[in-house]
Amino acid sequence: MNQHPHGWGRPRDDVYGAYDSSYLNSTQPVTHTQRPIVTGTSVLGVKFQDGVIIAADNIASYGSLARYDNVERLLQVGTHTVVGAGGDMSDMQYLHLLLDNLLIKEQYPADDHHLHAPQVHSYISRVLYQRRNKFDPLWNSILTAGADPNTSEPFLSYVDLRGTTFSAPALATGFGAHLAVPILRRHVPDEAAVKDLTREDAEKLVDECMKVLWYRDARSGVTYSWSVITKEGVETGSKKIENQSWKFAEMIKGYGAQNI
């Protein structure tokens, strides 16, 4: 122990060497908020003739470890909107808090006006864009799905951690953007096709895409939550992927112990 009054409690330099204080004056900015830790994978959304369907599985991964298998990634916001989030789960939970507070503040005027999907989407996209400008983004990609309570006009929009937004009749985040969107687009290539897609077909389509993702996305899960939003409101539920066939796995080459 260093007994000099200026060095009380510190290890002696002549015994332990000088204290390495280089880490104290780092010139680098803080980066620990700038990567996702516990993550959720894809969210799917498809418009159909009188509403929208949105689905996301219940896995939250820690790297490649399927750390949690009971995470709800779909959040109902008000009467006719559901927000689904992929990416960092703690950022998603923070966003849920923001949306919850937004809804409560929206009630203060008691004027019978309510937030619907376009407003919720707009709010989320502003929050995300503001955070990317602070170089401290909320690490999510988000789908906002809803239906107009009067006209039943479906709404579906995407926003990501940079605040980029776009809309399409069928959308997916994460791995789903690569694996599910091509399948979805075969059925709803444009807004006109939405008018011909029934709810049953839309549900089947989403089930099919969730199955493909379960087969090919190593961060996906076997159970998933779904919501259907029509002008009547939101219906929600949970599903497990049925009728699995892993036959195709035999064809996959290039991994593991193979003699060919």
């Binding site: 779909l74 909107t81 919850d100 507070n101 409560i104 203060y108 008691a110």
Partner: protein, 278 residues
């Protein structure tokens, strides 16, 4: 008003020699002239009702609300100085939001009453501020069921089965005392509340008024959907909302009728007596 001229009423935070804080008492006086406001705690919820005198024919009916939503499960009615009430409401909303941020749960009614009581009391301590010219009735519900609290300008607050403040409080209180509040259902309480407001209004009969009424309930189909998103939201299942217009109007009609019948009876008795005298 023996205090006037003694100088002890000029500043907050100064006691008079007999131990009174006159500024607080003056604030209570301000409330005594406020709108009659009542709260009823029933077995399945809480009712807030207030008599809103129509100060101008140019006002849109139903505008200038006196009962405010604080959180999904909480409402506050204030009586007294309206702007003081607004500030009080804003503070209550901030407290509620901060509780959600800290604890990820809805603020219990007792906790909000405690925090708002402390807030009001702090305004009796310093010479730079004056006490709130409002009495606030807090209605809400939590895991312990429905709760009703009333905060006075001094910061004093109690939990109540039934509370009344404002101009018609004496009449209202004596009517509330006749009710069996631990057995009363919310729907019955709507009628009682309307009747009490009408009875308490009796003193200034010539003025037009509206009834503003809200409740805290767990089973109102309409509102439950409109107010919340169920999945993942911080919410204890109770809703503070306007009592449906039809219900209030019906209750008001019945109240008016009951009071007119009472009056007729009285007049009838008077007339009979006069007949006898003749």
């Amino acid at each position: 008003m023996t205090s006037i001229g003694t100088g002890y009423d000029l500043s907050n935070s100064v006691f008079s020699p007999d131990g009174r804080n006159f500024q607080v008492e003056y604030a209570q006086k301000a409330v005594e002239n406020g709108a009659t406001t009542i709260g009823l705690r029933c077995k399945d919820g809480v009712i807030l009702a207030c008599e809103k005198l129509i100060t101008s024919k140019l006002l849109v009916p139903g505008s200038n609300k006196r009962i405010s939503t604080i959180d999904r499960h909480l409402g506050i009615a204030t009586s007294g100085l309206i702007p003081d009430g607004k500030h009080f409401i804003n503070r209550a909303r901030d407290e509620s939001i901060s509780w959600r941020r800290n604890f990820k749960e809805s603020i219990p009614v007792a906790s909000l009453a405690d925090r708002m009581g402390s807030y009001a009391q702090a305004y009796t301590l310093y010479s730079s501020v004056r006490p709130f010219g409002v009495t606030a009735i807090i209605a809400g519900a939590d895991d312990d069921g429905p709760g009703l609290y009333m905060i006075e300008p001094s910061g004093l607050y109690w939990g109540y089965f039934g509370a009344a403040t404002g101009k018609g409080r004496q009449a209202a209180k004596s009517e509330i005392e006749k009710l069996n509040l631990s057995e009363l259902s919310l729907l019955q309480a709507v009628k009682e509340a309307a009747r009490i407001i009408y009875v308490a209004h009796d003193d200034n009969k010539d003025k037009e008024f509206e009834i503003e009424m809200t409740w805290v309930t767990r089973d109102s189909g309409k509102a439950t959907a409109a107010v919340t998103g169920s999945r993942g939201m911080i919410w204890n299942g109770w809703v503070h909302e306007d009592v449906p217009r039809e219900l209030v109007e019906e209750a008001a009609r019945e109240a008016k009728k009951a009071i007119e019948e009472d009056d007729d009876e009285e007049e009838g008795q008077k007339a009979e007596k006069m007949d006898e005298d003749l």
